[in-house]
């Protein structure tokens, strides 16, 4: 329980805003160090084979070059691949940079040039000559999918649910049937800040690492394990992260390379990836869904069969939750699931904003749109007819589900009732207008997290937690929780994040940080309130001598009786009575196993999209989006809205723009730049209407939060694809929907 709700639940500007708008926020490549050396990576130009010779003579002759690292002179690092495993990696053998001559994918880092200046390193890198013995590679999912397999080791919590009923038989007996293939191109995260690591060398194998990471503790554990250092010798500090979206969950190549060079040269080293090199690592897996829906003549689902095949690397089995949603979102008694992988000569795909969900949900929500047409039903009505009140995949009770309110409020705001169901029936001038909708869903998680709250002698409140803020607003919501918890003004609260010396937190991802770190701060505030009251009660003639915690309120630096606010004790007096030092409390929260066994929790959304399409040119514009979201308690409507807007923009990118194109002859991505790999720009984005429906959930997490980072993207691409069909009558089942597909 918070003692008051002045800040939590109210729109608040980001407390890190002034630093960010004045250029004072410091990102990984921006930390200074004396005698800083610069590393520049050379990547493989083939996709598979072996290095036969590396000629570094010309590069070494460049003035300022300190050392050129290859597999031939790599300093000793951990031998076994298991030492390279990180907290969130999938089953398999993690990639080991500069390990040996073997080439596993195009762009693989094979040389690091370290020089006194960035320019010298960059130039010298261009002079390195590499000879290869290439082998035949495979980078084409369509060719490799026929050798797909069920991953023998499942990634934790990501296995498909068991089949129920007899989906094949029920499909055969269904009056209405949809069975189609839905594919999504490989996408790259492309955070605006390229991955970078600055290692500050302190001597005696002790380093401070500024890494672009979504989990400082993950980077620290990786470095300690790979390089055989005690964790106390490796402090990771990353207060600001220039976008993550999942790309900073696992340690990336530049972390290994910068630390390796620093330890060997006994010098501070920075390694930054170029934008082109950002296409040589983690990405969203190219995925093909085969989805079959069977229903009775009134549109009630009888059968769902969802089979997905996703690309992975030769060395790891990356898995996401792609197919499970199809057995969860709608009531259906017969369901079967299969999630397979196909190995390609690529780097291992990884989690990218709402991993798995927009892939599987594009298939499900497109198929539901096709089923609505087959049943001659409004797409919204079809979803209401199949509304599920329980989690049929697990048989668990849902802690809350206000999706019905999302449908109702979203459709009203959009004006859905005015939709003419006939495709191509709505137009203005030469533009065809299409209205489409889809549902969104994302699991609400909470993980073990610690936080510390401190009242300082100066009358300020300090909050500390090792979690990151990758732009999600974590700094701000934690300040709000602390301010309310102990009655401080926002301006008197400081928040420290992204530092391994702070109380432990998991990587920031999966939309779990607000629920996890928020609950930890709330719990620490509760403990600190008890501590302060106990100290106040010990005062001679204390007005709070007999007060219980429920009898008092913390306000403006004091604790006072609710019944008589003139009676109280100032926090400064308490601190003085305790010897003038700060008073702190640290707490750890974790999910309840009992609740986990009984309940499951999801955030939901209803997305309504309008597209306008030039009839002759096929140019598609998204002109309106309404996203109605049910995600439990909303801590800060201002930053929450931004989270959803961001997710919607990602959904627009997935629907219309984003596609990594591989030249399968070379096994290499062709469009490795922001000019050719298209992400939405300002002119692509309309005004986006976000609404949060009321949803009270006392079970999902102590603070009642479900998380917002992912839910905005999940239904958006499908809603747009459905709108494109409504405008044109053309069903495009391969994302992105580009002009060539529309005009074909």
């Amino acid at each position: 329980m918070l003692t008051n709700d002045l800040h939590v639940g109210s729109p608040r500007s980001r407390i890190d805003g002034p630093a960010k708008v004045t250029g004072q926020a410091t990102y990984a490549a921006e930390f200074a160090a004396p005698d800083l050396a610069h590393g520049y990576i050379v990547g493989s130009s083939i996709a598979k084979g072996a290095i036969t010779h590396i000629d570094v003579s010309a590069a070494e002759a460049v003035a300022g070059v300190l050392k050129i690292f290859t597999h031939e002179n790599r300093p000793r690092t951990a031998w076994f691949s298991s030492s390279y495993q990180d907290q969130v990696g999938p089953p398999g053998k993690p990639f080991r940079p500069l390990y040996d001559e073997t080439i596993l994918y195009s762009g693989q880092p094979i040389v690091l040039v370290v020089a006194e200046t960035f320019e010298s390193a960059r130039y010298a890198a261009s002079l390195v000559r590499i000879q290869y013995a290439p082998q035949k590679h495979q980078t084409d999912l369509q060719a490799a999918r026929h050798e797909s397999y069920e991953p023998p080791s499942k990634r934790f919590g990501m296995a498909p649910p068991p089949a129920r009923g007899d989906a094949v038989d029920a499909f055969g007996k269904s009056v209405l049937r949809v069975s189609q293939e839905y594919a999504i191109a490989a996408e790259y995260h492309n955070p605006m800040e390229p991955h970078a690591t600055t290692v500050v060398w302190h001597g005696d194998d002790t380093i401070t690492v500024h890494d672009k990471t979504q989990g400082v503790l993950n980077s620290q554990a990786y470095v300690a394990s790979v390089f055989g250092l005690p964790k106390k010798n490796v402090r990771v500090i990353s207060p600001f992260v220039g976008g993550g979206f999942g790309s900073g969950l696992r340690p990336q190549q530049q972390l290994f390379l910068a630390v390796m060079a620093s330890l060997e040269l006994k010098q501070s080293v920075r390694v930054e990836l170029t934008r082109e090199q950002m296409f040589s690592h983690v990405h969203r897996a190219e995925t093909v869904n085969v989805l079959s829906l069977g229903a009775d003549k009134d549109g009630h689902l009888n059968s769902v069969q969802h089979h997905a095949v996703a690309a992975t690397s030769q060395f790891e089995d990356h898995q996401e939750v792609v197919v499970n949603w199809s057995g969860l979102l709608y009531k259906v008694d017969n369901a079967s699931f299969q999630q397979d992988l196909a190995k390609l000569d690529i780097y291992t795909p990884g989690d990218m904003r709402a991993p798995g969900a927009p892939l599987g949900m594009f298939a499900l929500e497109s198929a539901m749109d096709e089923l609505a047409i087959a049943a001659d039903l409004d797409p919204l009505e079809l979803r209401l007819r199949n509304y599920a009140d329980a989690d049929q995949n697990t048989g668990k009770i849902l802690t809350s589900k206000e999706l019905r309110a999302c449908y109702q409020q979203g459709s009203e705001r959009f004006g859905w009732s005015k939709r003419n169901p006939v495709p191509g029936s709505m137009r203005e001038g030469r533009e065809l207008i299409g209205w489409g909708m889809a549902s969104g869903v994302w699991e609400a998680y909470m993980f073990k997290t610690s936080a510390r709250v401190t009242v300082t002698p100066g009358g300020k409140l300090e909050i500390a937690c090792a979690t990151s803020d990758i732009g999600t607003g974590t700094y701000t919501i934690l300040a709000q929780i602390g301010a309310d918890g102990l009655g401080f003004a926002m301006a008197d609260v400081t928040v420290k994040l992204g530092d391994t010396s702070l109380p432990a937190a998991p990587v920031q991802g999966g939309s779990w940080t607000a629920a996890s770190a928020g609950s930890a701060v709330m719990a620490a505030c509760e403990t600190l309130r008890k501590k302060l009251l106990a100290a106040a009660a010990r005062f001679p003639d204390s007005p709070l001598a007999k007060a219980k915690l429920d009898d008092i309120i913390f306000i403006a630096g004091s604790m006072v009786l609710k019944a008589d606010p003139s009676m109280g004790v100032s926090l400064n007096d308490i601190i003085a009575s305790c010897g003038g030092s700060a008073i702190e409390a640290e707490e750890t929260v974790k999910p309840s196993l009992l609740k986990y066994l009984q309940y499951s929790s999801f955030a939901h959304s209803a997305v309504f999209a309008e597209v306008r399409i030039d009839e002759e040119l096929g140019v598609i514009r998204v002109t309106r989006i309404v996203s109605a979201v049910a995600a439990g308690r909303i801590l800060n409507p201002k930053t929450a809205r931004s989270q959803i807007i961001g997710g919607v923009v990602w959904g627009i990118g997935m629907a219309l723009h984003e596609e990594a194109m591989t030249d399968h002859n070379l096994g290499r991505i062709m469009n490795r730049s922001l000019a050719e790999y298209h992400v939405p720009v300002n002119a692509d984005i309309c005004d986006i209407d976000v609404t949060f429906v009321d949803e009270v959930d006392t079970k999902v997490s102590p603070i009642g939060v479900k998380g917002l980072g992912e839910i905005g993207i999940v239904g958006t691409a499908a809603a747009i694809a459905n709108a494109v069909h409504h405008a044109t009558g053309k069903r495009i089942r391969t994302l992105p929907i580009t002009i060539d597909k529309l005009l074909a």
Binding site: G23, M192, G242, G243, R275, G471, V679
Partner: protein
Amino acid sequence: MLSTGNTLTRVAFTLNGVNRSVDVEPWTVLLDLLRHDLALTGTKKGCDHGQCGACTILIDGARINSCLQLAIMQEGKDIVTIEGLARDGQMHPLQQAFIDHDAFQCGYCTSGQICSGVALIVEGRAGSREEIREFMSGNICRCGAYPNIVDAIADVATHLNVSNHGATT
């Protein structure tokens, strides 16, 4: 052969209102000079190819991708970076508007967005939301804060006369 020492050239320019004279190599990019040599890391490197706008600064009042400028070309120029937009300890109105409208999330594109927006208003290109969207499309925001960026720029363009603020020193 890249070497150092005998190729250095002295360049003088105004940077955030202060006269600066620096010795630069002919191959040093202005963005790298700012970030590496002058410790002005508020200007960001997002692509180094003029494709993302994160490195946008103001040169003689015009918004320029500093990754496409060589340092040696800056003789006599008047350069303003994000660190130089504030006046007398007060943020530029657009900096405050970005906070008020939550026009950023991770903050990495923000310096470039703000510098671009300041020049956009002076250019008279902020007359409508459509115009702002079009002429701010050289600045990518991967967090997707675009509607809020438009709100912030429209707010400042509408309510404040900033024609004399920020675009020049």
